[in-house]
């Protein structure tokens, strides 16, 4: 099966690339090429933000339900998995004999815990709030995310206001693999019967219902899946930072993710990835602006960052990619288009039911 072999080769290539980047982050580096602690942190955040943006895009971009509570579900994932690691993780790891295997098993369970708890919370929040549309849904999700944050702030078992120290470490391999899994899962969902149901809800809810789509069910489904992956991002974030504090999960974080997908293009997976990369790296790049004539432009980085966002949105309000995807389609299409397979443009505007052979008749009349 060549298709399967191709997929396997692709997966292997991605894995090798991730391992290489991961090795570059280690103390010894890869063949002498190494990344500093600062670059490592930025790259880790890029990976986590890709997971967040792609999962939110399933809800906002493909299903068209404007949620601004993504940070809340990220918090749920971060705190629930941290609770597991702190109170059960070390025991389990020592039972498994410590070492790499123990660590991998424990962290895998932590990821599952984060995803499942965040998904369940998504169900709990989604069922009542997805009855609302547009602005109302946005405000309700924002409210729920804040409620989640305030509740966590008052839970002493996860540190309350003093914050929560999390043991364990995450390397780039985990972040990268989970980001890729998120992308693949969302892409496979979008290009399926479920995906068509979701997009039909975005385009026209009434028509979607008339075509037999249970709109409520599919809205909740996309909300739960999106929340679960936000939970995964939270798990990675918590175990990477090793310290959780609720100010990391305010609505500002939710808006950051929204900016990523709006900038990259709502309804485009590659757009969301691009948005996540740009929004994570851009502020860091602006720190390195030079100082000219005694005036340090880096001091103005937040102003420049905001101005850049405004310029991008004014020039491309549909996002950099809109609903398109970047990939290798253009290569394939260029090869496939045969001579004489003319574009159908000249057929536009023909009256209903008219075929190519009818044109003469029309002219005679």
């Amino acid at each position: 099966m060549p298709g399967f072999a191709k997929k396997l080769a692709g997966a292997a290539a991605i894995l090798v690339a991730l391992i290489a980047v991961n090795a570059m982050m280690s103390r010894t580096g890869l063949f002498g090429f190494g990344l500093g602690a600062y670059e490592t942190e930025v790259l880790m955040l890029v990976g986590i933000n890709v997971t967040l943006a792609v999962s939110l895009n399933l809800i906002n971009g493909f299903t068209g339900q404007f949620s601004i509570g993504h940070a809340g579900f990220m918090a749920i994932g971060a705190y629930s998995s941290a609770y597991f690691t702190v109170y059960h993780g070390q025991d389990l790891e020592s039972v498994l004999g410590g070492g790499t295997l123990g660590h991998v098993v424990v962290f895998s369970i932590a990821i599952l815990v984060g995803a499942v708890v965040a998904g369940l919370m998504g169900l709990l929040v989604g069922v009542p709030s997805l009855r609302l549309r547009g602005d109302y849904l946005a405000i309700v999700t924002l409210g729920f995310a804040e409620i989640i944050r305030i509740v966590i702030l008052n839970l002493d078992v996860v540190g309350g206001a003093t914050g929560f120290s999390v043991p364990g470490s995450v390397n780039f391999l985990w972040v990268g693999v989970l980001a890729v899994i998120t992308i693949v899962v969302v892409r496979n969902i979008v290009k399926s019967d479920t995906g068509r149901a979701l997009i039909s809800i975005r385009e026209d809810e009434l028509a979607a219902e008339a075509m037999g789509v249970n709109t409520t069910r599919y809205k909740v489904l996309s909300f739960v899946i999106g929340s679960a992956f936000a939970g995964v991002a939270g798990v990675l974030f918590g175990h990477f930072k090793r310290f959780l504090a609720t100010p990391d999960f305010t609505f500002i974080k939710s808006f950051e993710v929204i900016i990523m997908i709006v900038l990259g293009g709502m309804g485009s997976i590659t757009g969301a990835v691009l948005g996540a990369i740009v929004i994570t790296i851009l502020p860091e790049l602006l720190r390195q602006l030079p100082s000219v004539g005694g005036f340090n432009f880096a001091d103005l980085r937040l102003v420049i960052y905001a101005a850049l966002l405004i310029v991008i949105m004014l020039t491309r309000p549909q996002g950099v990619l809109g609903e398109r995807e970047i990939g290798f389609h253009w290569l394939r299409r260029a090869q496939k288009a045969p001579e004489g397979d003319r574009q159908v443009g000249d057929d536009k505007g023909v009256p209903i039911a008219q075929r190519a052979g009818d044109t003469e008749e029309v002219e005679k009349r």
Binding site: A207, A210, G212
Partner: protein, 287 residues
């Protein structure tokens, strides 16, 4: 140019394909309980505040017929459609489809029972291609689940391929297959109307509701539409209920016609009876 949109070659080769199969299933779906009425309303009434939009409407659409629902502007025709498809719930009265009560069901449930519709103002899915628009309507028959899709199982591939073939076949019958990869809303107006009909047919309904299919069409397009409606009925073994404003279309295609005015049924009969009914003339021309 008055001829039917006859894709004769397609018809000959496709007769034993998936479409014919679907038509046979549609024809055999009869239940003895409700006689020959596939759709029946019993004093269906809906009030919006103080306004009675549809008032104790009785309707009985027989299996296999083309039934017209007409009336002057604001008579409540589209409201009747919305009642039948579950968009509105009747304030009182009952609606039966194939002997089963369907009032109070949600639109997707009614659609899944075999009632499909088009819309007065075209409602295609803008972000999708022509083919995807039609494939969305196969949702009711999808055998893949979410896990199949995520893991790309053989069942997913088979299900997708079957739906794709079925939809392309349908598009070919309506001469739209060549547009399959274009955006649905980028088609010419007449083609968009036909695409909406194809999408409705892809749910493999037993009853097709057409809401003002001739709206915005020129006379030659209307002629084609008449032929198309007859063809759809014969080919797919459907019952068709249409709401229409355009008298030429109604008289040309409908076998029985019911006239509503101010939400009340004022006449029911064959086209020539309706044409000469004084009450209908009064409703249309006023006093």
């Amino acid at each position: 140019m008055s001829g039917a949109p006859e894709p004769s070659d397609v018809r000959a080769t496709k007769e034993d394909g998936v479409i014919a199969e679907a038509a046979r299933t549609a024809r055999s779906g009869e239940t003895a309980a409700d006689g020959d009425a596939v759709l029946r309303t019993d004093k269906a009434t809906i009030k919006f505040g103080g306004l009675v939009a549809v008032n104790a409407l009785d309707m009985a659409v027989r299996r296999g017929e083309i039934y017209g629902l007409i009336g002057p502007n604001g008579a409540g025709k589209t409201t009747v459609f919305n009642l039948l498809t579950g968009v509105y719930k009747p304030t009182s009265g009952e609606i039966y489809f194939q002997g089963h009560r369907v009032d109070g069901l949600r639109p997707y449930e009614i659609s899944r029972r075999g009632v499909s519709r088009t819309f007065q103002n075209i409602r295609l899915f803008a972000g999708m291609t022509v083919l995807e628009n039609v494939m969305t309507a196969c949702h009711r028959h999808a055998r893949q689940n979410l896990l199949d899709a995520v893991l790309r199982t053989p069942r997913f591939a088979k299900d997708e391929r079957e739906h794709r073939d079925f939809c392309i076949e349908l598009l070919e019958i309506f001469n739209l297959a060549r547009f399959k990869d274009e955006g649905g809303t980028s088609l010419a107006y007449g083609n968009q109307r036909r695409l909406e009909i194809v999408r409705a047919l892809a749910t493999q309904p037993q009853l097709l509701l057409l809401d003002e299919p001739a709206a915005g069409m020129n006379p030659s397009e209307q002629d084609d539409l008449l032929n198309l409606i007859h063809k759809i009925r014969d080919r797919f073994g459907l019952t068709i209920l249409l709401v229409e404003h355009n008298m030429k279309v109604v008289m040309g295609v409908c076998e029985r016609i019911q006239v509503v005015d101010y939400g009340k049924s004022i006449a029911l009969g064959l086209p020539h009876e309706i044409r000469n009914d004084p009450k209908v003339i009064e409703a249309y021309l006023g006093d």
